[in-house]
Amino acid sequence: MKKLKESGLTKEELIQAYKHVLLGRRLDERLWQLTRIGKTSFNISGQGHEVGQVAMAMAFQPEKDYFLPYYRDMTACMVWGMTAKDIMLGSLGKEDDPSSHGRQMPNHYGSKEHNIVSHSSTVSTQFPLATGVAYAAQLKKSDYVTLTATGEGSANQGEVQEAMNFAGVKKLPLIFVVENNGYAISVGTDEQYANETMAERGPAYGFPGIRVNGNDFAETYLAFKQVVEEARKGNGPALIELMVTRLTSHSADDDHSVYRTKEDLENMKKNDGLLLFEKQLIDEGYMTREEMTDIDAELKKEINKATDEAEAMPEPTADTILDQIYAD
């Protein structure tokens, strides 16, 4: 593991990163609670992806860069500008949900305000879309960079190849990410692909492909920083394979103890990126355990507030079902 110091980020930035990571974790825990008690009907979570996502997103300039996420990217979306309340509005299916105004299932992120383009449930359809968003940057002669992500199972979709191929041809300012958590629901990587790494697919389309350990904050951040810089300078796309862990079952509809062994599940917990990140922050003297506890308490309040506020908001009403199908 790289030292956090090597990231070149300031103490404030690293603390901010920690807040993002912890917010992602705590908010997701809340969403599971709400699912269990029936207040929301579904959750699919990014636990185990948070450190990688924060390191990834911090390498961008969210005020101008575009993001086409997938359903595990809640934490990255919050670095990009969405709030806990925004997320909560989506999970509760409220009218003010910025992702879909209650029309999509929870965890389908989007925000016009923050340049986060809406995605569907059909995996990886965002990859071809991302090429359009990135091509628009070339047409506008703007230097924004576009980021899009999917899982390692979903990365096998044909549309992913078509998008990467085109991005290579046009040298688009576009970063492709595969968040590799080793499972596509119950299917392990040995049944998903045969090559050593997913990252190798980058060079096969004419641009760099890099595998990074998503639990290694500095390594991840630096890798993204470099490819984002290149893309912004007009040197074309890159593929980053972000090695992460799926700490939970696939979703609220799945039970991973059916297809994973006890030891496997226990080992996995030891590799919880949040704990490793905390240890690094303490070991390198950026934070103390108490400071972390304080932040945790603060975030809890923030999440409580977000939950209360979101719960109080109205749901879409039946008479809006035909709204916004076509332009007027």
């Binding site: 009907s41 579904f42 299916g93 879909s100 209650g102 029309r103 999509q104 299932m105 929870p106 389908h108 569907s120 449930s121 059909t122 995996v123 199972g153 979903s154 096998n156 979709q157 044909g158 549309e159 596509a184 629901i185 119950s186 299917v187 049944e191 998903q192 692909y193 509809d253 799945d254 059916v258 297809y259 749901e315 879409p316 009403t317 039946a318 809006t320 079902i321 035909l322 199908i325």
Partner: protein, 328 residues
């Protein structure tokens, strides 16, 4: 005889056919191993018949579509599962360009005996992409059959017939019926024909035609209406394509008052074709306009509970439409 859910009946039918004919193989996302499908339809098959005949594919529907055709031309009977009917869309090219045309374009030299299974239908808080009735997308492609059972008895007999058929058959399974319906299912080796609609209730006053969840609504509504003095003839379309025109037209002529019910959008649904057939062949036997009851013309059903309810054709809506027609 054994009490079985709709889901168990499908599994039983597959199991019997796999035991009977070693050329039958089954695959799809999460279909193999111990998971046995996200709804559990294929549970136990890998253990029973081996990982060669029941296996996971990578997350690639186009591949699933084409793999089945390749197995078909070499003498196998492939059963390819699409995890949701919504995710047939990436495979439409394979289904239309290859599976449905292999026999015709070689005048029978090569054939594609395949079953493509897909859970469809809403009312499960699945939002825009886990609720769709996509059968209309594949409807009207000569060479392909589309069928769907609406009872456990039919589920077992129809999947067995589909597997034995030398045609490619798209087998739709209503995901809400999976565990909702339970009945005694024969242990015998029976099949249900792939090309016959089924009169499930006799009546002289009105004719109701439907399939899937709404058919079950119609059956219940018919009992209520019966108490009000009207008897409904209820027909399960079952063979969605090609349609069993004879049975449908006969049932329409019998009462002269026709209600067509579908969970899909109103426009472009299979009910529109049935209406056209009746308008062509039975016009002068009609005593009322051919009425369609369907979802609104919005893009599938939103997640939010009020919107989902608004979209769905429920028992009350069916009863009201039936009553109105009876009183016409």
């Amino acid at each position: 005889m054994a009490m079985m859910t709709y889901l168990e009946a499908i599994r039983k039918g597959i199991e019997e056919e796999m035991a009977r004919d070693e050329k039958v193989v089954i695959f799809g996302e999460d279909v193999g191993g111990v998971k046995g499908g996200v709804f559990g339809v294929t549970q136990g098959l890998a253990e029973k018949f081996g990982d060669d005949r029941c296996f996971n594919t990578p997350l690639t529907e186009g591949l699933i579509g084409g793999l089945a055709v390749g197995l078909g031309v070499t003498g196998y009977r492939a059963i390819g599962e699409f995890q949701f009917a919504d995710y047939i869309l990436p495979a439409v090219n394979q289904l239309i360009s290859e599976a449905s045309r292999m026999r015709y374009r070689t005048k029978g030299d090569w054939i594609a005996p395949i079953v493509y299974r897909a859970p469809y239908g809403g009312g499960v808080r699945g939002g825009l992409y886990h609720s769709q009735s996509t059968e209309k997308v594949l409807f009207g492609q000569p060479g392909l059959r589309i069928v769907t059972p609406s009872s456990p008895h039919d589920a077992k007999g129809l999947i067995k017939a589909a597997i034995r058929s030398d045609d490619p058959v798209l087998f739709y399974e209503h995901k809400r019926l999976y565990r909702l319906l339970k009945e005694d299912v024969s242990d015998e080796d029976y099949v249900v024909p792939l090309d016959k609609a089924n009169v499930v209730r006799e009546g002289d006053d009105i004719t109701v035609i439907g399939y899937g969840m709404v058919l079950n609504h119609a059956l219940k509504a018919a009992e209520t209406l019966s108490k009000e003095g009207y008897e409904a003839e209820v027909v399960d379309v079952r063979s969605l394509y090609p349609l069993d025109k004879e049975t449908l037209v006969k049932a329409a002529k019998k009462t002269g008052k026709v209600l067509l019910v579908t969970e899909d959008n109103l426009e472009g649904s299979i009910m529109s074709e049935i209406s056209a057939i009746i308008a062509e062949d039975a016009l002068f036997d009609l005593d009322a306009p051919i009425k369609r009851l369907a979802g609104p013309d919005s893009p599938s059903m939103p997640y939010s509970i009020a919107l989902e309810r608004e979209f769905l054709v429920d028992e009350e809506k069916v009863l009201n439409a039936m009553r109105e027609l009876a009183e016409f």
